[in-house]
Amino acid sequence: MSQFAVELRDVVKRFPNPGGGEIIAVNHATLQINHGEFFSLLGPSGCGKTTSLRMVAGFEWPTSGEIFIDGKPMGRTPPFLRPVNTVFQSYALFQHMTIFQNVAFGLEMEGVSREETRRRVEAALEMVQLTGMGSRKPRQLSGGQQQRVALARALVKRPAVLLLDEPLGALDLKLRKEMQLELKALQEQVGITFIYVTHDQEEALTMSDRIAVMNKGNVLQIGAPVEIYERPNCRFVADFIGETNFLFGKVKAIDPDFVTVSLHGSERELVGIPLGKFYSGQEVVVSVRPEKMRIFDDTPLKIGVTPNQPNCFPIRIINTMYIGSDTRIVIDFGGGTQLKVWEQNHLSTLDALAYYAPGQELWVTMRPENVLILPQEE
């Protein structure tokens, strides 16, 4: 067994553009995916994630660079000779075959004996909780069931790597959440490497061991969900994963651990942690997530914060939205900047005074660890 289940080494894929010229779908992508890992390719549509997956499957060949599956260079190996199987976004079930025949198809192509095929197909159908559905046609099943058939059809081949191209995209929200958990549990059970393509950041965060965030053909950041969310390496990743507030300024002072940024359009200064290398006077973007700020009433001293401490500012409430678990507040941060702040409703009360009202003059604080300083992109 080689070191990586799948490796993309400097892979480029260009397509001829129908209108002339070329489209760079994947731009010098390098990825290493470990054995047994649940790895997600995450990005907006057109970012190159599906093309990358299709190149691993063998439906497309790289323009340059090389893809290794279990250490073997794939070159122009056709799909039917690769030790990977795919769950398609549209499921691509064979409509003219029964569920049993669909799942058995791959084994039949391998020349597996009739008896073993029957045993393995039944085991696969049981695994995806479709026991007894073998004689039905795909059309007679619900979307969620069809999705499971697609999964069983791919897993029954015991591939080294399972490729999933937005497999839950066609399901409604509730079913999708259920299937996310099921898929994750299934992946842990079978121990097969999963490469999962999605544009849904929440889905990627929930399920993945590691995530590669892609945009415009480039792999921007690779890391565990917590790294991607808490320590994004660029503005795009911070923006694409979760919600955030951006503030703009210039580096004023650099300490070993913290950087002080003076914000444009106001006298205010923010202290945060640098994600990258910075020099004094550099233009930077500051990202602060809405749930990582606190709003206080007019006595910040009571909670041990003095107005002189860093990242404590007077603000005014613009509006609030009560959404049950949270209250989403828009504050006027001064200098024409509005920020989103989310507060958990940890007290159960009907007292209107417990909630903020528009126009209230209050304070906001944010811990320096929650203030992320990112390079301004060219």
Binding site: A57, G58, F59, P78, P79, F80, V84, N85, T86, F88, S90, A92, L93, F94, Q95, H96, F105, G106, M109, E110, R153, A154, K157
Partner: protein, 303 residues
């Protein structure tokens, strides 16, 4: 009293109009009634006429004697006519097979080209239909006859030493029929091939099927509805065809279509011609029903 009566809604004056307004069934019937009337006069009544006629007898001067009997049908059981019938079935079947063999690769190719080229190819397939059918058959005669294009070409390149006698043979009839009916096979085949998602073939390849296997197990079964529709469109008119055998088969090839035409126009034996028509109709019906049932005609074709 007056207040009481006014509270009851007035009875509709025309129940027909009310029915039309309230019943979707009546609305549907009203909408298709022009078609129904048209079909009644152009299809149902003439067909009934043929049925009635087939039980009559020919008079000495080609007139019709109205006396019900089964004479025409017993006469059809003669080996001479049965042979013509069998030969017609064979020709129609071979024509259908021929259109599948030539039409399938053609339809497959068109379905795989980029969408903008597809309409051009489909257009090209239909272009010959702008020319009169007889003229196109004569064009084939020019190609196939002894001093025709085909023979002079083959002689010139030295492929053959003596000209081939193709024209006025069953082969010529078959060539003409396959040519004539090809678009009726290509269009439905194209429609069902075009509907096959590329992902289906990718899935087959992904699961380990080599291209030929993927074709056999996925493409072919999924294009079956188109093939069945095309076969029906080819087989039925091919059974009754008489122009092509007349012009390209010489006097040697007689199909059921020729027989019927001759009875009506030459022999002036309308009752016998009508009986032959009925036999053709029944045979075609049985054949089509059998074929479609066997191939699972029905829900697949409607999709």
């Amino acid at each position: 009293m007056a207040a009481e009566t006014s509270s009851v809604s007035p009875a509709p004056r025309f129940s027909l109009i009310r029915q039309l307004r309230e019943s979707p069934h009546a609305q549907g019937l009203a909408l298709i009634s022009p078609t129904l009337i048209y079909l009644l006069f152009t299809l149902v009544l003439p067909l009934l006429l043929v049925v009635v006629l087939s039980f009559m007898t020919r008079g000495p001067y080609g007139n019709i004697i109205y006396r019900v009997n089964l004479g025409n049908y017993t006469r059809l059981m003669d080996t001479l006519y049965l042979r013509i019938l069998g030969y017609s079935l064979l020709t129609a079947a071979l024509t259908t097979i021929g259109t599948i063999l030539i039409g399938y690769p053609l339809a497959y190719y068109i379905a795989r080209t980029p969408p903008r080229q597809r309409s051009v190819y489909l257009f090209l397939i239909l272009v010959p239909f702008w020319t009169n059918f007889i003229i196109r058959i004569y064009a084939w005669i020019m190609i196939l006859r002894t001093e025709g294009l085909l023979n002079s070409f083959l002689l010139k390149i030295g492929f053959i030493q003596a000209p081939l006698d193709i024209l006025y043979t069953p082969t010529a009839v078959l060539i003409g029929m396959v040519y004539e009916f090809l678009p009726f096979m290509v269009l439905p085949l194209y429609t069902s091939l075009e509907k096959i998602e590329p992902a289906q073939l990718e899935a087959a390849a992904d699961l380990g099927a080599r291209p030929f296997m993927a074709f056999l197990r996925v493409t072919l079964p999924l294009s079956l509805p188109g093939m069945i529709a095309g076969s029906i469109l080819v087989f039925i008119p091919a059974m009754g065809m008489f122009v092509v055998p007349d012009l390209m088969g010489g006097a040697k090839t007689i199909l059921v279509g020729n027989l019927i035409r001759n009875q009506f126009l030459t022999a002036r034996d309308w009752p016998f011609g009508a009986a032959a028509s009925m036999l053709l109709l029944i045979l075609t019906l049985i054949f089509t029903l059998f074929y479609t049932r066997r191939a699972g005609f029905g829900e697949e074709l409607l999709v």
